[in-house]
Amino acid sequence: MAIKIKKILVPLDGSKNSIRGLDMAIHIARQSHGTITALTVKSVPGIYAIHPLGFLDFSSLTEVKKFLNEAKVRAAKKGIQLTGKALAGDPGFDIARFANNKKNKIDLVVIGARGRGSAKEIFLGSVSNYVLHKSKKPVLIVK
């Protein structure tokens, strides 16, 4: 198998579409014997992102942990290793930054076509559109 996708980034927001993205990523990871990095970005209004206390929002952190765990279980069922990661900030920006960071060695970004903030854009979610434009790595949009 010539496919060289070792590390797949899957941004999750708990929506149905992101779960579909995860399923696709698991499928690809099985083919290429890769690992998955799940990234959840909790959207924080500008000023809190700078303020250290902005990260200490415990009530939503438990929610984040919950669906990262769900993702882990889902991947483990198929025998794929999944590492979860949670950040606070602007979703689009932080996902793109995470993907472009050389330290993370991401080979592919798999993203659902629409997540939570869908009402405004009818066809493609705004976050996926942002990531699509800004990431320097290949992007797979799952519809």
Partner: protein
Amino acid sequence: MNTNSNSFKKILVPLDGSKYSEKALQRACEVLNAFDSKIILLYVVEKSLPINFLDRKVYLEMVRKFGHKTLEKANNVLLKKGITAKIFLKEGNIVKEIGKVIKKEKCDLIIVGNRGLGSVTRFLLGSVSNNLAQSSSCSLLIIK
């Protein structure tokens, strides 16, 4: 997870002769090997551009020739790897024609380069790939 619905049975690779589309083709080969799927190559002769500087017929003839050449080249690349491809040459609006082929052939995945020869309406992403991302009904892999 239903594996059948997730595997890529048919992959569409729209070509335009640019080095980005060649890159997309390379990546398509990798995916092909992994998923054991069929590939469809497509070249669309853009007809909707208003062209006045040359005789329209002559211009279209030139583009058609270029299209055949591009497809042949791509096919040769695939043949060397032992892959047989379906080849289409369509005329009309690029995005619309791609959409039609997807519907007709029931493709599961489109692989495009992030920029082609098309005019750059968006600075970072080519206009065609952007349009596809917005409007296509199947999954899309954008090679950077």
